[in-house]
């Protein structure tokens, strides 16, 4: 009897979960579907799958340098941002998690407010700032601009992970004669390895999806893929096929990254605070 009830419950749960996944996947499926069709087929009769499968939209992107350079540019500034953010956030997070010092709480709050700062607020000053120092339309400009929200995020997550490491470990290491840099690199970082992985995932995610600043700070040399995509809209209408293919390709790096850190994601989303 209870077995029947339990079985019924499992089926109901699976069904509800399946329904939500369907909701998540349906729009993405439609994107993939259209990316494999020619424009004439897209604009003709609505079909649930490609009748004349074509890879033309993808070949267009991979053979045209103004297209594929968009991906290269995006990945370049995302990687730069990850390196910069990590380099400065690690020591800062360590300080916040281990020491109390003048103004630490206020500083931490102020940091968080930067994460909340709407990019639209900083649009104009950023443009002028980077233009006047000659960094406009370079990868490093976008990488630095994304530090605005990524550094606070990194400090916040890392601080959570570091605080879960008992400080006796630090003390033992110092008694054993480790210098601070050696302790930090050889002992401490390996201990929070999964925290670092998760942080890198978040840095990637937020820099990869941001568009407003990336678009404002670049014109041609460092143009992100997101703004290259606006080229599909021309006077003769929208090139739906290419737009869809380009959209599919922006999802791929995300899938790869999430696949590699899937075992740590759950912990990471609690920002180390469970």
């Amino acid at each position: 009897m209870t077995d029947v009830i339990r079985k019924g419950r499992v089926i109901r749960r699976t069904l509800l979960m399946g329904l939500y996944l369907l909701f998540v996947l349906l729009p993405i499926y439609w994107l993939v579907n259209m990316s494999l069709q020619s424009n004439s087929e897209i604009l003709g009769e609505l079909t649930l799958w490609p009748q004349q499968l074509t890879w033309g939209n993808y070949t267009r992107i991979f053979t045209d340098s103004s297209w594929y350079m968009g991906y290269v540019n995006s990945i370049t500034y995302v990687l730069m941002n990850m390196v910069i953010s990590m380099a400065v956030a690690l020591p800062a997070a360590y300080a916040f998690s281990r020491y109390s010092f003048i103004g630490d709480k206020h500083l931490f709050f102020w940091l968080l407010t930067n994460m909340m700062a709407p990019p639209a607020v900083f649009l104009l000053p950023y443009f002028q700032l980077y233009y006047s120092v000659g960094l406009f339309d370079t990868h490093i400009a976008v990488a630095l601009a994304h530090c605005l929200f990524n550094i606070p995020l990194a400090v916040w997550i890392l601080e959570g992970f570091m605080s879960s490491v008992p400080r006796e470990i630090d003390e033992t290491a110092f008694i054993d004669g480790y210098s601070f840099p050696r302790f930090f690199l050889r002992v401490f970082l390996p201990l929070i390895r999964s925290g670092i992985g998760v942080t890198l995932f978040f840095l990637f995610m937020f820099s990869w999806v941001e568009l407003l600043l990336a678009r404002t700070l670049t014109s041609t040399q460092a143009q992100p893929i997101a703004s290259v995509m606006t080229r599909t809209s021309t006077a003769s209408g929208i090139d739906w096929g290419t737009l869809a293919a380009a959209g599919v390709l922006t999802i791929v790096p995300g899938i790869l990254v999430v696949f590699f850190v899937r075992h740590h994601i759950a912990k990471g989303f609690a920002l180390g605070r469970t």
């Binding site: 979960m17 994107l31 800062a92 999806v209 568009l211």
Partner: protein, 295 residues
């Protein structure tokens, strides 16, 4: 954990501070500078005092955008938070199913925001989009470019699609942190599912939920790329949110002074809400640290 008092820790903070100052303080100073001036060109400026602020606060279009913004943020929070908790409870906890579901649920979060807009633009088109086409087939004259209600509902639906995953993943990680012993004790007591949820799971989720609500509120307040791509803010102004008004003012009309004043008002609202949330989080953490929430 007790912390050591050490003011030399500032040296560890310094590189980060220098960088954040460059990307936050300098631009903010520029905004403040503009907000009190009338700029004709770089050499001709007039000090205007609080004129722009008064003008912006009395602008009916901005008041409407602000109201719309709050209505939107509230709507999506009311939908996404309960839905996210529900999904988290449904997600499988182990095995290959757990990995697959985790990756699929995370998927919408990793799509660039304007691509999210493009996906929904394609999906909701009446002629070539599955959703728009289906709705028309069943007789509903669905049209987001002419019907404000359709546009509004679609933006909400898009946001739910995009961001419910964040709440679900936060709650999922919160649930995973509950020791199995709690459930065993509940089973011995023959506690109902509702009782387990109400007295074991929900209290354990408060910490991550506060973070979730905070992040969702902030991001929904900054929403820009998705409605920009999907509806362009229309029809009329029905889906024009704060960021979009601001971007138009600053980059299309070059009303630098008013845009700067508007930015500061915008920023202050965010700061206020952020401060309230931060205080709540800190108090929760203090409670759990002192053992009140039964860790």
């Amino acid at each position: 954990m007790s912390k050591v008092r050490n003011n030399r820790a500032w040296w560890l903070i310094l590189p980060m501070l220098a960088l954040v100052a460059f990307s936050a303080i300098i631009p903010l100073m520029t905004v403040v500078n503009y907000s009190v001036q009338d700029v004709f060109d770089p050499s001709t400026r007039f000090f205007t005092g609080s004129e722009w602020f008064v003008q912006m606060l009395n602008d009916p279009a901005l008041q409407a955008a602000l109201l719309r913004q709050f209505a939107f943020s509230l709507t999506i929070l009311l939908i996404e938070v309960p839905l996210g908790i529900g999904i988290a409870l449904l997600m499988p906890k182990r095995g290959w199913q757990a990995s697959v579901v985790l990756v699929l649920v995370t998927l919408p979060l990793l799509i660039p925001w304007n691509v999210v807009g493009s996906i929904w633009q394609i999906f909701t088109r009446g002629d070539i989009g599955l959703m728009g086409w289906s709705l028309r087939q069943v007789g509903y004259p669905y049209n987001i470019t002419s019907n404000p209600l359709d546009a509004w509902v679609t933006i909400v639906l898009m946001d739910v699609w995009h961001w419910t995953s964040l709440i679900a993943l936060l709650c999922y990680s919160g649930l995973r942190a509950i020791p199995e012993a709690y459930y065993q004790a509940a089973r011995i007591d023959r506690a109902s599912h509702w009782a387990i949820f109400r007295y074991i799971q929900l209290p354990k989720l408060t910490n991550v939920l506060v973070i979730g609500v905070l992040l969702r509120f902030m991001h929904s307040f900054m929403i820009y790329a998705e409605p920009f791509v999907l509806t362009g803010g229309g029809p009329g102004n029905s889906t024009t949110f704060l960021s979009q008004s601001l971007a138009v003012m600053a980059t299309a009309q070059f009303d630098v002074g008013p845009a700067a004043a508007f930015s500061l008002i915008y920023f202050l609202i965010i700061l206020l809400v952020c401060w309230v949330f931060y205080t709540v989080i800190m108090n929760l953490q203090k409670d759990s640290a002192s053992g009140v929430s039964h860790d």
